[in-house]
């Protein structure tokens, strides 16, 4: 007993900088508020819940802004948790994406007969995991953040519990996710064995200093990368994505396709740039193969899809390949390219899902053929969805072109044969992608209405707001330097 007390007296409480935790604290506050309100008024639909969640997410943006204007870099817990420009840019990205997802969910969840309170609680938990991930610079923090964002997402994916496909989505996502976590954890344990430290920068120094056998380190790197490759749905770890995307509620699909995928990329960037900076010989070929396979296979399968949500799922796989491509020549420009791409991708892909949700409220289907002749009775939604689709295809002046441009630029800047070949693969894939995006646009603009039902589509206010936000962002990113500046500023502290 005395011995234990003696040990306790050695314990020095870490100096916690609460300002640095501002965004997370605001989210936790919102989560508790949703919980309490749901308990007070438990029955059925409560219109306050989504508002509280939305306000909480917006409120969490305030500390992000104050931290950014404050400008000081913050190391917490001996560098296991860092607030630098990189983390702030990505926290802002996660929060804004989360807000748009809440806007998209409001009517969707209220109109289905499912519990609303739990939905927003889980969504907020997942968001907390993401904001943590942006700051995590330690294997254990990374792992905790990953699980915190994933486990609520497993439940959200299976949200439509009376629907067979919904159940399939939940179980599939869960099993595959746990498997990936196990692989990741094994890789992490190897890294810890080699470096004797869990902090990413320390691991980087240890590896650069020649610790451990090459084969062992290579194995560890591959395992860690594979663990995250699952999150970003890189081929061949993408097989869960289409089924989960189709079975999950569409707002959650958007959440998984944008925010959760971005979180996977954030983790990937952190380990690549901080923990493995000296091992380009392993990282670059690995990323090259992953990127080439991901964009090509994702695109080829997308060509054959007849359902818009599945099409967006496979196109999302292909887009993940585009985002991975600059990492095959890992440089400072690649980091910039990945972040810029993530920012622009979030705007246009969330927008595309919001438009599909809006349209599907009337067509009651996400089959592409059900979108026929949409231009005749819902010209606004048609124009908006077309903008997003052509932005995803990379047509100027919409945002997507700049995303592709920075990828090309990073690849060309490397001035290596593999970089140029990757550039050519990206170019060919962009043209393939255009075909299926244009195919959806053609259905909406040029085909007749399938069942002759031309009643107008009523777009609820919250979806209208989500569309307005994403349209403005998509257009603005294409003709201004907003996105590239974010990408430019999101540098690691220790980089």
């Amino acid at each position: 007993m005395l011995a234990v007390l003696a040990q306790v007296s050695d314990f020095v409480a870490p100096n916690i900088d609460f300002h640095a935790f501002g965004p997370e604290l605001a989210l936790v506050g919102a989560l508790v508020a949703v919980l309490v309100v749901d308990v007070i008024k438990p029955d059925g639909n409560n219109p306050f819940l989504s508002s509280i969640a939305g306000l909480g997410v917006l409120g969490a943006l305030i500390p992000v802004i104050t931290l950014a204007t404050d400008g000081a870099d913050r190391f917490l817990f001996d560098g296991a948790y860092v607030v630098d420009n990189f983390s702030l840019v990505l926290k802002a990205l996660f929060l804004v994406s989360g807000y748009v997802v809440i806007l998209m969910s409001t009517n969707y969840i209220a109109e289905g007969d499912y519990a609303e309170g739990e939905y927003y609680i889980l969504l907020l938990s997942s968001l907390i995991g993401m904001t943590l991930m942006a700051s995590a610079r330690d294997l254990i923090t990374v792992f905790i953040a990953l699980e915190l964002l994933s486990i609520p997402a497993y439940m959200l994916a299976g949200w439509r519990k009376r629907d067979l496909i919904g159940n399939e989505a939940g179980v599939k996502y869960y099993l595959m996710g746990v498997f990936a976590s196990a692989v990741l954890l094994y890789g992490m344990s190897l890294l810890f064995g080699v470096a004797g430290d869990t902090r990413l920068t320390e691991i980087g120094q240890a590896i650069a200093g020649g610790a451990g056998e090459t084969a062992l380190i290579t194995l560890a790197i591959v395992f860690v990368v594979v663990g995250f490759a699952f999150k970003v749905s890189a081929v061949p770890f993408h097989t869960w994505a289409p089924d989960v995307y189709e079975g999950a509620p569409t707002p959650i699909t958007a959440f998984l396709a944008v925010a959760s995928k971005a979180a996977g990329f954030v983790a990937l960037l952190q380990v690549i740039y901080l923990a493995f900076p000296g091992r380009d010989d392993v990282i670059q070929p690995l990323m090259w193969v992953l990127a080439a396979a991901t964009m090509t296979i994702g695109n080829l399968i997308a060509l054959r899809q007849t359902n818009v949500v599945r099409l967006l799922a496979y196109s999302g796989v292909a887009q993940a390949g585009f985002i991975l491509a600059p990492l095959s020549v890992a440089s400072e420009l690649s980091l910039q390219a990945v972040i810029t791409y993530l920012v622009i991708y979030a705007a246009m892909n969330l927008g595309a899902f919001a438009a599909v949700i809006g349209i599907a409220r009337k067509t009651r289907s996400a089959e592409i053929t059900s979108f026929g002749g949409l231009f005749e009775y819902a010209p606004g939604l048609t124009v908006i969805l077309s903008l997003f689709l052509f932005s995803l295809a990379g047509i100027p002046p919409l945002g997507g072109w700049l995303a592709k441009f920075v990828v090309f630029r990073a690849l060309a800047d490397a001035n290596t044969a593999s970089g140029y070949v990757m550039g050519a693969i990206v170019a060919v894939n962009s043209v393939i992608a255009l075909y299926y995006y244009a195919n959806v646009a053609r259905e909406m603009w040029m085909k007749p209405v399938p069942d002759g039902d031309r009643s107008p589509v009523v777009v609820p206010f919250s979806i209208g707001a989500a569309l307005a936000l994403t349209v403005v962002a998509t257009m603005a990113f294409g003709v201004s330097n907003l996105a590239t500046r974010l990408g430019d500023q999101a540098t690691f502290l220790a980089f």
């Binding site: 010209p379 100027p396 072109w401 441009f405 920075v406 090309f408 630029r409 043209v431 330097n481 590239t484």
Partner: protein, 513 residues
């Protein structure tokens, strides 16, 4: 006039978008509101443009005026640089003229499925893209404007087009996108080859001269740009999208395509490809000239084989753009001036011909040449206008078409030094034969459609009437300009000459002659 000096070009380029934004505020079924708004927007744009052109210093057409250089996307070193010189002015004037006329023509000639709001918005977005391309002085900005025209044209053909519209629209889209992808790669390569600091056209041209870039590299980079621009022109053998797009597009779309969009390609050659990579241009010139004369003959033969009036006019575009490209390939100031004149003349004349084809189609519900006939009997004024335009198109002296073709042919007699003279003289002969063929197919077209008697099925058809109000409004300026430029070509040559001489001397200096 400070506002015009500083912001005139910017205001001109973005005014149509402001108009679109206003149109979005009105509901879809307010047809007349949208027509008025669109026309007003195009007139305001034209007014700003005229103010700019009036303030333009015509004694100094060789240098960039109204220069606007702002920060844009710093991270990729791209700047917002606008400016115009004697090369841009004629094309801007052409664009400013065509768009209001097309909107005026639309007043009572709406293609199915109607929807003026969407249709006119697309025309205005196109307007911004076209004007922007002609004023951008930064390669990335140029590229963005160059691509802005793609989507509106795709939808215009795909939604308001003829029976084969879906095929034609996607073919147009994929073809031009393929070219622009290669063009963008070339721009990026140029950027990195010159030290990765600027996309400014002027600076890039200087840097390329100051650096020792391997000849093969230059040739490949030029090749990428060539693909982008040649597909847009379109040059043989990349022309196959054009007959489909033109034939299927609604009249307004065909007119804009013919009058302005095709010029984006030839303009790109003179503005971007030649000044930045003069040495590569010299090596490519014989090939470009060769493809140009093949285009002339091929287009003419294609015309002779057509049974559809609109498709015939489309093929004649291939031939006419061949003359423009032949003028460019000589790399002399004479040839390049001819090319600029050819662009404007082709814009006016072929634009007019597509207008007429649209009006004929509306009256007869067919453009099959063998079912037409006796236009001079049933609609005499329309018949005479068609006659005037075919004469202009075949290059009759005294009308605008002559000054585009004849100097281009003449320029091939004495190409820039360093180019194979015998080869170009050969091209000259072939191009001259092309004019004979042009006279053949155009006169034959005229004979079959305007002369003779009205076919039985159309006798007493109440649908067939003579030229009406909106048509007069849309056509008169074009007809007048065809005549004025034909009688007094110096009006245009004087404007373009300054900057063309610059380009030609840059090429001459760089190639060591």
């Amino acid at each position: 006039m400070d506002f015009i000096q500083d912001w005139g070009l910017t205001a001109m380029v973005f005014a149509p978008l402001a108009g679109v934004a206003i149109m979005m505020l009105f509901p879809k079924d307010a047809d007349d509101t949208h027509k008025v708004l669109a026309l007003l927007t195009s007139l305001v744009t034209a007014a700003i443009g005229i103010a700019v052109l009036a303030d333009f210093d015509y004694d100094d057409t060789g240098s960039l005026q109204f220069l606007r250089d702002n920060e844009w996307i710093n991270v990729i070193n791209s700047r917002f640089i606008l400016g115009i010189d004697g090369l841009s002015v004629p094309l801007i004037a052409l664009t400013l003229l065509i768009t209001p006329l097309v909107i005026a023509y639309s007043w009572n000639h709406f293609p199915e499925p109607h929807n003026p709001k969407a249709f006119l918005s697309l025309i205005l977005v196109l307007h911004t893209g076209m004007l922007g391309t002609f004023v951008a002085q930064d390669l990335i900005l140029f590229f963005v404007f160059f691509e802005v025209v793609l989507l509106p044209m795709y939808f215009m053909i795909g939604v308001w087009g003829g029976p084969e519209r879906q095929y034609a629209s996607i073919k147009f889209f994929l073809y031009t996108l393929f070219g622009s992808a290669l063009m963008l790669l070339s721009f990026l390569a140029l950027f990195f080859l010159t030290g990765g600091e600027t996309f400014s056209m002027v600076e890039l041209a200087e840097r390329v001269q100051g650096m020792d870039i391997a000849r093969t590299t230059q040739l490949i980079v030029f090749g990428g740009m060539f693909m982008g621009f040649a597909i847009k022109v379109p040059m043989f053998p990349f022309h196959t999208w054009l007959p489909d797009a033109h034939t299927q597009a609604p009249t307004q779309g065909s007119v804009i395509l013919a009058a302005v969009l095709l010029k984006l390609g030839t303009y790109g050659f003179i503005r971007v490809a030649l000044p930045i990579l003069p040495e590569a241009a010299q090596s490519w010139a014989p090939w470009i000239g060769g493809l140009a004369v093949i285009g002339i003959i091929y287009g003419a033969l294609g015309c002779l084989a057509q049974t559809d009036m609109k498709r015939l006019i489309a093929f004649s575009s291939v031939a006419h753009m061949g003359y423009t490209m032949l003028g460019i390939s000589t790399l002399t100031d004479f040839g390049l001036n001819a090319a600029v004149f050819g662009m404007v003349a082709h814009g006016l004349i072929t634009g007019m011909l597509f207008f007429i084809a649209g009006s004929v189609k509306e009256r007869y519900h067919t453009l099959e040449i063998k079912r037409l006939g006796g236009l001079l009997v049933s609609a005499p004024r329309l018949g005479w206008i068609l006659g005037f335009c075919t004469m202009a198109s075949l290059g009759l002296p005294g009308l605008a078409g002559f000054w585009g073709e004849f100097p281009a042919i003449l320029a091939a007699y004495q190409p820039a030094e360093g180019l194979p003279v015998e080869l170009f003289r050969g091209y000259m002969v072939v191009a001259a034969i092309g004019t004979v063929l042009a006279a053949g197919y155009l006169l034959w077209l005229y004979q079959r459609t305007a002369f003779g008697t009205v076919k039985d099925e159309f006798v007493d058809d109440p649908n067939i009437h003579d030229v009406n109000g909106p048509e007069w409004i849309a056509w008169t300026p074009l007809l007048a300009l065809i005549l004025i430029l034909g009688v007094y070509p110096n009006l245009l040559f004087k404007v373009s000459d300054g900057s063309i001489v610059n380009v030609a001397s840059q090429i001459a200096a760089a190639t060591g002659n």
